[in-house]
Symmetry: none
Subunit: 203 residues, 4 copies
DNA sequence: TATGAATGAGCCTTCATTCAT
DNA sequence: GATGAATGAAGGCTCATTCAT
């Protein structure tokens, strides 16, 4: 996917250090993007909820777009690290897969932030250059973990689909849980993870 | 979901007759929404590509929002009819499920319009009242077909998941294909439909 | 006043014959202008309440402005005739004055139309040329009657003010009654007319 | 009048502090409303004459309507204060009445602003809620002064009419002077005030 | 005469961004 | 770093008027 992009990534500034002020702005922005969407969230909304004035935002980010990009890039990095952590020291590909599914579900449904939502829902609001930069981050780490686990399962002959296709079907199915899943007595996040894992593996 | 909505649907005008002019505007709008998203599409964009002036749009639709609503409602109705057609005369629940999966994939990937994309991607741009009206349309027909097929499979003991969960996982997985699936020699739409169907059924 | 206007009246078409259709449109327009004001009344409002479509209005009047002008000019003419009728055969200037005051009050407060309101309230919405034409109509007949009565009173030494000033004070006082006077047991229109007349004459 | 209004005043923001920028905008707006009327004055007109761009207006006022409301409310307050000042320390009700008449005429005909014109002429352009708020301001102070003076005259038996009616007739007569009175050698504002006062009192 | 789609200028308002203080 | 007034380009929508049918 990213290989077919003709867009240069060089013009996108790398993720600099995140000061506490920046972090607060990002947290607010992510919540707001989740509530109303990027386009309908104004820079004033973000400033107001952060407790500063709109002009001050631009001392921290040079544009609204950069806020979105930073949020997505950070989330991507964080999820990459979570993925690495989830599979580190786990040899069994089935266990790896189960861990990754649970990790992705946790990212989506965690209560203290909506960064993973934004990563899916606001993709189209990201400029092509920024999108390419985020994709590059994602493919480097997060997706590598997934493909390793899936290919491990395939090698053992227990994956129902081709690993590439399985990955895409899984991604869609998991991302969509944000619209319907609510933890309750009957179904917990780990329970859902097990169920999804079982679906994609031969029983 | 729709049951917990406090929003009244009564204020939303029912879908009136679609004149040729309206149909042309809708087709253009759907393409544009797909290309750039609802928010970034201006009424002037729509008018220009339709070949009329922006003021003329408002003879046919009383607001930009109504264009979105009409497009979504029409697509929902059309998909409901396609779903009914797909299962009519088919008794075997597995065959029904296969037909519905293929039908949904066809809706998403048809070349002459992007209405199904819009139905998924622009959901958040729809006012609560309009959203409730569309949901009502969808639950009445389209989702009923799906649940009948899935429950049929479950009754025969060959569905891997609870029907409700299966439906949601399937919906996410299928909708997401819009971002990665491109028909080529190796994988056709019916081939993908078979593969997805097989994933969710015990082999 | 009209003498100092440099505006030519020639460009304003004289009042042609008023067909029944025109009359109905005018009646509706006057009511609407009274309810919402000229600017806030749309040509579609007028058409709708008349029971025709907006395009059809322009077969009867060549512009919205012409509707206003026609309504004002007709009202002016009608009030001129009422004034002539009120003083015809009356010799005593005090009786004339009383009759004119009552006539003006009746015009303002009649129940079957709001033409006199419009004449006062929408003056500023009238183009200078049309305004000059209406003024000319008014000065020719209506105001002549008033001045004759007031000068008659002055000649008898019973008018408190200079006739020109008295006329202006009276006009303002009477026009303003539209905002506060409501007929009830205590105060009728003839009663008010008597009271006003008494105010401006030495007792 | 205001008692029969069902409109709540609570939703109307109280008059905040008037910054110099706001004051300049208001002065310009009032002049423009006087020249062309509220409806025909565009926010671009106001901005241009103020020397700013149209977008900047909305830093100071949240809508065009709020500009009108603020102008009217300020004028109402100012006239209330003028009225209090005019009668303070004056015991004789005739002198009070004379002072109030002159004060009202001065407000209407002052050369440095047309606020009092706007107060009368653009009443109908004011939203019902804002109108109720202005009425409340007016009845609290301005009208109280008038009624006190008129009732004082009535108690002495020298007022020709019932005080309520006298007030309304006076208001109409004085407001209308804006259309015809021009100070010249023959008639000055104080001269006119005397004349009007004499009209309403028994000689 | 009536219709109603189309016109196109114009309106109020929003909003990301800049910059002097 | 923070402020908040100012910018100026759009944006959605309105509306008097025209005209082919």
């Amino acid at each position: 996917m990213s290989k077919t992009q003709a867009v240069s990534v060089d013009s996108v500034a790398p993720l600099g250090p995140i000061s506490p002020a920046k972090a607060r702005i990002l947290a607010v922005a992510v919540d707001l993007f989740h509530e109303k969407g990027y386009e309908r969230t104004t820079v004033r909304d973000i400033a107001e909820r952060t407790g500063i004035l709109s002009g001050s935002l631009f001392h921290h980010f040079k544009s609204k777009q950069e806020i979105l990009y930073t949020a997505m890039a950070m989330t991507t990095q964080a999820m990459g690290q979570s993925a690495e952590a989830a599979v580190t020291g786990v040899d069994d590909p089935v266990a790896q897969l189960k861990a990754l599914i649970l990790m992705e579900l946790n990212s989506i449904h965690r209560e203290d932030g909506h960064a993973a939502y934004v990563l899916v829902d606001e993709w189209r609001s990201l400029d092509p250059e920024h999108a390419a930069a985020v994709l590059k981050l994602r493919d480097g780490s997060y997706e590598r973990c997934w493909m390793a686990a899936l290919e491990g399962c395939a090698d053992k002959g227990i994956l129902k689909n081709n690993p590439r296709i399985a990955r895409q079907l899984l991604r869609g199915a998991l991302a969509w849980t944000r619209t319907w899943f609510r933890a309750d007595g009957a179904l917990t996040l780990p329970g859902l993870a097990d169920e999804v894992c079982g679906t994609f593996l031969k029983s």
